[in-house]
Symmetry: C2
Subunit: 133 residues, 2 copies
DNA sequence: TTACATAATGTTATATTATAACAATTTAAA
DNA sequence: TTTAAATTGTTATAATATAACATTATGTAA
Protein backbone atom coordinates (compact mmCIF):
# COMPACT_ATOMS: atom_id res chain seq x y z
CA UNK A 1 0.00 0.00 0.00
CA UNK A 2 1.08 3.55 -0.55
CA UNK A 3 2.97 5.14 2.24
CA UNK A 4 0.65 7.21 4.34
CA UNK A 5 3.13 9.86 5.41
CA UNK A 6 6.65 10.90 4.58
CA UNK A 7 6.94 14.66 4.07
CA UNK A 8 8.47 14.82 7.51
CA UNK A 9 9.38 12.54 10.34
CA UNK A 10 5.98 12.41 12.02
CA UNK A 11 3.48 9.61 11.64
CA UNK A 12 -0.14 10.30 10.77
CA UNK A 13 -1.46 10.43 14.33
CA UNK A 14 1.58 12.29 15.54
CA UNK A 15 1.11 14.90 12.82
CA UNK A 16 -2.58 15.36 13.53
CA UNK A 17 -1.94 15.83 17.22
CA UNK A 18 1.10 18.01 16.75
CA UNK A 19 -0.81 20.29 14.37
CA UNK A 20 -3.56 20.70 16.92
CA UNK A 21 -1.17 21.55 19.74
CA UNK A 22 0.96 23.74 17.52
CA UNK A 23 -1.89 25.99 16.48
CA UNK A 24 -3.32 26.24 19.97
CA UNK A 25 -2.63 29.36 21.97
CA UNK A 26 -2.90 27.48 25.21
CA UNK A 27 -1.73 24.15 26.63
CA UNK A 28 -3.95 21.25 25.60
CA UNK A 29 -4.88 18.30 27.78
CA UNK A 30 -4.88 14.77 26.51
CA UNK A 31 -8.63 14.30 26.62
CA UNK A 32 -9.28 17.70 25.07
CA UNK A 33 -7.05 16.52 22.26
CA UNK A 34 -8.88 13.22 22.08
CA UNK A 35 -12.26 14.91 21.68
CA UNK A 36 -10.84 17.27 19.05
CA UNK A 37 -9.40 14.55 16.86
CA UNK A 38 -12.16 11.99 17.00
CA UNK A 39 -13.50 13.23 13.67
CA UNK A 40 -10.09 12.39 12.24
CA UNK A 41 -10.35 8.80 13.33
CA UNK A 42 -8.38 8.91 16.55
CA UNK A 43 -10.83 7.33 18.90
CA UNK A 44 -9.09 6.02 21.99
CA UNK A 45 -6.81 7.38 24.72
CA UNK A 46 -3.82 5.16 23.93
CA UNK A 47 -3.63 6.59 20.44
CA UNK A 48 -3.39 10.08 21.89
CA UNK A 49 -0.98 9.20 24.67
CA UNK A 50 1.31 7.30 22.34
CA UNK A 51 1.53 10.22 19.97
CA UNK A 52 2.10 12.60 22.87
CA UNK A 53 4.84 10.40 24.29
CA UNK A 54 6.65 10.31 20.99
CA UNK A 55 6.29 14.05 20.43
CA UNK A 56 7.66 14.75 23.89
CA UNK A 57 10.49 12.29 23.29
CA UNK A 58 11.50 14.02 20.10
CA UNK A 59 11.17 17.49 21.57
CA UNK A 60 8.34 18.68 19.30
CA UNK A 61 6.15 19.35 22.31
CA UNK A 62 6.62 19.76 26.06
CA UNK A 63 4.49 18.64 28.93
CA UNK A 64 3.58 21.33 31.45
CA UNK A 65 3.79 19.13 34.51
CA UNK A 66 1.86 21.38 36.84
CA UNK A 67 -1.07 21.35 34.43
CA UNK A 68 -0.92 17.94 32.80
CA UNK A 69 -1.08 19.70 29.49
CA UNK A 70 1.02 20.01 26.37
CA UNK A 71 2.46 22.87 24.35
CA UNK A 72 4.42 22.94 21.11
CA UNK A 73 8.11 23.69 21.45
CA UNK A 74 8.87 27.27 20.42
CA UNK A 75 12.51 27.04 21.15
CA UNK A 76 14.98 25.43 18.83
CA UNK A 77 17.58 25.66 21.56
CA UNK A 78 16.04 23.18 23.94
CA UNK A 79 17.47 20.22 22.12
CA UNK A 80 15.23 17.25 22.76
CA UNK A 81 13.81 18.87 25.87
CA UNK A 82 16.91 18.71 28.00
CA UNK A 83 16.44 22.21 29.30
CA UNK A 84 12.94 23.61 29.48
CA UNK A 85 11.55 26.70 31.18
CA UNK A 86 8.07 28.14 31.13
CA UNK A 87 6.17 31.10 32.46
CA UNK A 88 2.67 30.31 33.60
CA UNK A 89 0.02 32.89 34.32
CA UNK A 90 -1.86 32.04 37.48
CA UNK A 91 -4.86 33.99 36.32
CA UNK A 92 -5.48 33.20 32.64
CA UNK A 93 -3.44 29.99 32.56
CA UNK A 94 -1.41 31.18 29.62
CA UNK A 95 1.91 29.42 29.18
CA UNK A 96 4.96 30.76 27.37
CA UNK A 97 8.17 28.96 26.75
CA UNK A 98 11.16 30.91 27.99
CA UNK A 99 14.15 31.04 25.69
CA UNK A 100 16.92 32.67 27.62
CA UNK A 101 20.46 31.62 26.87
CA UNK A 102 21.85 32.87 30.15
CA UNK A 103 19.22 31.06 32.18
CA UNK A 104 19.77 27.86 30.22
CA UNK A 105 23.50 28.11 30.65
CA UNK A 106 23.20 28.82 34.36
CA UNK A 107 20.98 25.82 34.97
CA UNK A 108 22.70 23.46 32.59
CA UNK A 109 25.98 24.06 34.35
CA UNK A 110 24.47 24.02 37.83
CA UNK A 111 25.99 21.53 40.21
CA UNK A 112 24.65 20.84 43.67
CA UNK A 113 26.54 20.88 46.94
CA UNK A 114 27.84 17.37 46.37
CA UNK A 115 29.12 18.43 42.98
CA UNK A 116 26.50 16.48 41.10
CA UNK A 117 25.49 17.80 37.70
CA UNK A 118 22.20 17.05 36.04
CA UNK A 119 21.54 16.22 32.44
CA UNK A 120 18.06 17.65 32.27
CA UNK A 121 15.83 20.16 34.00
CA UNK A 122 12.34 21.58 33.85
CA UNK A 123 11.53 24.96 35.34
CA UNK A 124 8.09 26.46 35.78
CA UNK A 125 7.66 30.10 36.79
CA UNK A 126 4.31 31.29 38.11
CA UNK A 127 2.97 34.81 38.20
CA UNK A 128 0.72 37.16 36.29
CA UNK A 129 1.14 37.72 32.58
CA UNK A 130 1.14 41.20 31.08
CA UNK A 131 -2.56 41.10 30.29
CA UNK A 132 -3.60 39.99 33.75
CA UNK A 133 -1.42 42.41 35.64
CA UNK B 1 -15.69 17.53 73.69
CA UNK B 2 -12.01 17.82 74.44
CA UNK B 3 -9.95 19.38 71.74
CA UNK B 4 -8.38 16.74 69.59
CA UNK B 5 -5.22 18.56 68.65
CA UNK B 6 -3.36 21.68 69.56
CA UNK B 7 0.34 21.02 70.22
CA UNK B 8 1.02 22.47 66.80
CA UNK B 9 -0.83 23.98 63.93
CA UNK B 10 -1.77 20.76 62.16
CA UNK B 11 -5.10 19.03 62.38
CA UNK B 12 -5.39 15.35 63.14
CA UNK B 13 -5.47 14.14 59.54
CA UNK B 14 -2.87 16.64 58.49
CA UNK B 15 -0.54 15.45 61.25
CA UNK B 16 -0.98 11.77 60.43
CA UNK B 17 -0.26 12.37 56.78
CA UNK B 18 2.58 14.77 57.40
CA UNK B 19 4.26 12.28 59.76
CA UNK B 20 4.06 9.59 57.14
CA UNK B 21 5.55 11.76 54.42
CA UNK B 22 8.14 13.21 56.76
CA UNK B 23 9.57 9.86 57.76
CA UNK B 24 9.57 8.51 54.23
CA UNK B 25 12.84 8.44 52.33
CA UNK B 26 11.03 8.73 49.04
CA UNK B 27 8.15 10.72 47.59
CA UNK B 28 4.76 9.28 48.46
CA UNK B 29 1.76 9.17 46.19
CA UNK B 30 -1.72 10.03 47.35
CA UNK B 31 -3.09 6.52 47.10
CA UNK B 32 -0.02 4.99 48.72
CA UNK B 33 -0.70 7.38 51.59
CA UNK B 34 -4.36 6.44 51.60
CA UNK B 35 -3.59 2.74 51.94
CA UNK B 36 -1.04 3.44 54.67
CA UNK B 37 -3.39 5.47 56.83
CA UNK B 38 -6.56 3.44 56.54
CA UNK B 39 -5.79 1.77 59.84
CA UNK B 40 -5.81 5.24 61.38
CA UNK B 41 -9.32 5.93 60.19
CA UNK B 42 -8.62 7.88 57.04
CA UNK B 43 -10.67 5.96 54.57
CA UNK B 44 -11.40 8.05 51.50
CA UNK B 45 -9.41 9.98 48.89
CA UNK B 46 -10.83 13.42 49.71
CA UNK B 47 -9.51 13.14 53.24
CA UNK B 48 -6.03 12.55 51.89
CA UNK B 49 -6.18 15.16 49.17
CA UNK B 50 -7.52 17.80 51.53
CA UNK B 51 -4.72 17.22 53.99
CA UNK B 52 -2.18 17.24 51.17
CA UNK B 53 -3.57 20.48 49.79
CA UNK B 54 -3.32 22.17 53.14
CA UNK B 55 0.18 20.87 53.80
CA UNK B 56 1.33 22.11 50.40
CA UNK B 57 -0.37 25.45 51.03
CA UNK B 58 1.46 25.91 54.30
CA UNK B 59 4.78 24.76 52.89
CA UNK B 60 5.15 21.66 55.08
CA UNK B 61 5.35 19.45 52.02
CA UNK B 62 5.97 19.90 48.31
CA UNK B 63 4.46 18.18 45.34
CA UNK B 64 6.90 16.70 42.85
CA UNK B 65 4.91 17.52 39.75
CA UNK B 66 6.68 15.15 37.42
CA UNK B 67 5.85 12.26 39.74
CA UNK B 68 2.52 13.20 41.29
CA UNK B 69 4.11 12.54 44.64
CA UNK B 70 4.82 14.42 47.83
CA UNK B 71 7.90 15.06 49.96
CA UNK B 72 8.35 16.85 53.26
CA UNK B 73 10.01 20.24 53.07
CA UNK B 74 13.64 20.04 54.18
CA UNK B 75 14.34 23.66 53.57
CA UNK B 76 13.33 26.40 55.93
CA UNK B 77 14.29 28.92 53.29
CA UNK B 78 11.59 28.10 50.80
CA UNK B 79 9.03 30.20 52.60
CA UNK B 80 5.62 28.79 51.82
CA UNK B 81 6.91 27.09 48.71
CA UNK B 82 7.61 30.16 46.66
CA UNK B 83 10.92 28.86 45.44
CA UNK B 84 11.40 25.13 45.18
CA UNK B 85 14.08 23.04 43.52
CA UNK B 86 14.59 19.31 43.49
CA UNK B 87 17.03 16.77 42.17
CA UNK B 88 15.44 13.60 40.90
CA UNK B 89 17.30 10.41 40.15
CA UNK B 90 16.08 8.87 36.92
CA UNK B 91 17.20 5.46 38.02
CA UNK B 92 16.19 4.97 41.66
CA UNK B 93 13.56 7.73 41.73
CA UNK B 94 15.15 9.33 44.77
CA UNK B 95 14.25 12.98 45.27
CA UNK B 96 16.26 15.56 47.21
CA UNK B 97 15.28 19.10 47.89
CA UNK B 98 17.95 21.53 46.78
CA UNK B 99 18.75 24.35 49.17
CA UNK B 100 21.09 26.66 47.36
CA UNK B 101 20.93 30.34 48.20
CA UNK B 102 22.60 31.45 44.99
CA UNK B 103 20.25 29.41 42.84
CA UNK B 104 17.24 30.70 44.74
CA UNK B 105 18.41 34.26 44.43
CA UNK B 106 19.14 33.86 40.73
CA UNK B 107 15.70 32.48 39.98
CA UNK B 108 13.78 34.68 42.36
CA UNK B 109 15.23 37.75 40.71
CA UNK B 110 14.93 36.38 37.20
CA UNK B 111 12.97 38.53 34.79
CA UNK B 112 12.08 37.49 31.27
CA UNK B 113 12.66 39.39 28.07
CA UNK B 114 9.57 41.50 28.59
CA UNK B 115 10.82 42.38 32.06
CA UNK B 116 8.23 40.29 33.82
CA UNK B 117 9.15 38.91 37.20
CA UNK B 118 7.56 35.88 38.75
CA UNK B 119 6.47 35.36 42.29
CA UNK B 120 6.98 31.64 42.39
CA UNK B 121 8.91 28.90 40.65
CA UNK B 122 9.41 25.17 40.73
CA UNK B 123 12.52 23.56 39.32
CA UNK B 124 13.12 19.85 38.80
CA UNK B 125 16.56 18.56 37.87
CA UNK B 126 16.92 15.05 36.47
CA UNK B 127 20.00 12.88 36.42
CA UNK B 128 21.66 10.07 38.30
CA UNK B 129 22.19 10.24 42.03
CA UNK B 130 25.51 9.35 43.62
CA UNK B 131 24.46 5.77 44.29
CA UNK B 132 23.24 5.12 40.78
CA UNK B 133 26.18 6.69 39.01
C1' DT C 1 -20.66 30.99 78.63
C1' DT C 2 -23.06 31.21 74.25
C1' DA C 3 -23.26 32.10 69.59
C1' DC C 4 -21.20 32.41 65.46
C1' DA C 5 -17.89 31.78 61.67
C1' DT C 6 -14.33 29.00 59.97
C1' DA C 7 -11.88 24.92 59.44
C1' DA C 8 -11.77 20.19 59.41
C1' DT C 9 -13.96 15.77 58.88
C1' DG C 10 -16.67 11.85 56.92
C1' DT C 11 -18.94 9.83 53.01
C1' DT C 12 -20.59 8.53 48.38
C1' DA C 13 -20.16 9.07 43.87
C1' DT C 14 -17.86 10.42 39.84
C1' DA C 15 -14.55 12.98 36.91
C1' DT C 16 -10.02 13.09 34.97
C1' DT C 17 -5.62 11.29 33.62
C1' DA C 18 -3.02 7.39 32.06
C1' DT C 19 -1.63 2.58 30.96
C1' DA C 20 -1.93 -2.69 30.11
C1' DA C 21 -2.49 -6.00 26.87
C1' DC C 22 -3.11 -7.87 22.52
C1' DA C 23 -4.01 -8.03 17.43
C1' DA C 24 -3.17 -5.96 12.99
C1' DT C 25 -0.90 -2.92 9.71
C1' DT C 26 2.63 0.03 7.93
C1' DT C 27 7.30 1.36 7.32
C1' DA C 28 12.32 1.18 6.74
C1' DA C 29 15.98 -1.22 5.46
C1' DA C 30 18.80 -5.49 5.26
C1' DT D 1 11.29 -9.87 -0.24
C1' DT D 2 11.34 -10.92 4.11
C1' DT D 3 12.11 -9.31 8.44
C1' DA D 4 12.41 -6.05 12.46
C1' DA D 5 10.74 -1.95 14.24
C1' DA D 6 7.35 1.45 14.53
C1' DT D 7 2.72 2.66 14.36
C1' DT D 8 -2.04 1.84 14.69
C1' DG D 9 -6.53 0.10 16.42
C1' DT D 10 -9.21 -1.67 20.23
C1' DT D 11 -11.08 -3.02 24.77
C1' DA D 12 -10.63 -2.83 29.33
C1' DT D 13 -8.97 -1.03 33.49
C1' DA D 14 -5.65 1.38 36.60
C1' DA D 15 -4.31 5.56 38.83
C1' DT D 16 -5.07 10.28 40.08
C1' DA D 17 -8.22 13.80 41.64
C1' DT D 18 -12.51 16.41 42.71
C1' DA D 19 -17.75 17.48 43.42
C1' DA D 20 -21.17 17.70 46.53
C1' DC D 21 -23.31 17.38 50.77
C1' DA D 22 -23.88 16.32 55.77
C1' DT D 23 -21.61 16.62 60.21
C1' DT D 24 -18.39 17.85 63.87
C1' DA D 25 -14.60 20.50 65.90
C1' DT D 26 -12.27 24.78 66.78
C1' DG D 27 -11.27 29.69 67.56
C1' DT D 28 -13.08 34.03 68.67
C1' DA D 29 -15.88 37.69 70.06
C1' DA D 30 -20.13 39.25 72.30
Amino acid sequence: MDKMYKENNLSKNQQIIFDLINKSSEPLKAYTILFSVQKKGIKAPPQVYRALDKLVETGKIHKIESKNAFVACRNSNCEISKATAFSICESCEMVDEINDAKLTKYLTSFSDKKGTKYKRFNLEFFGLCKKCK
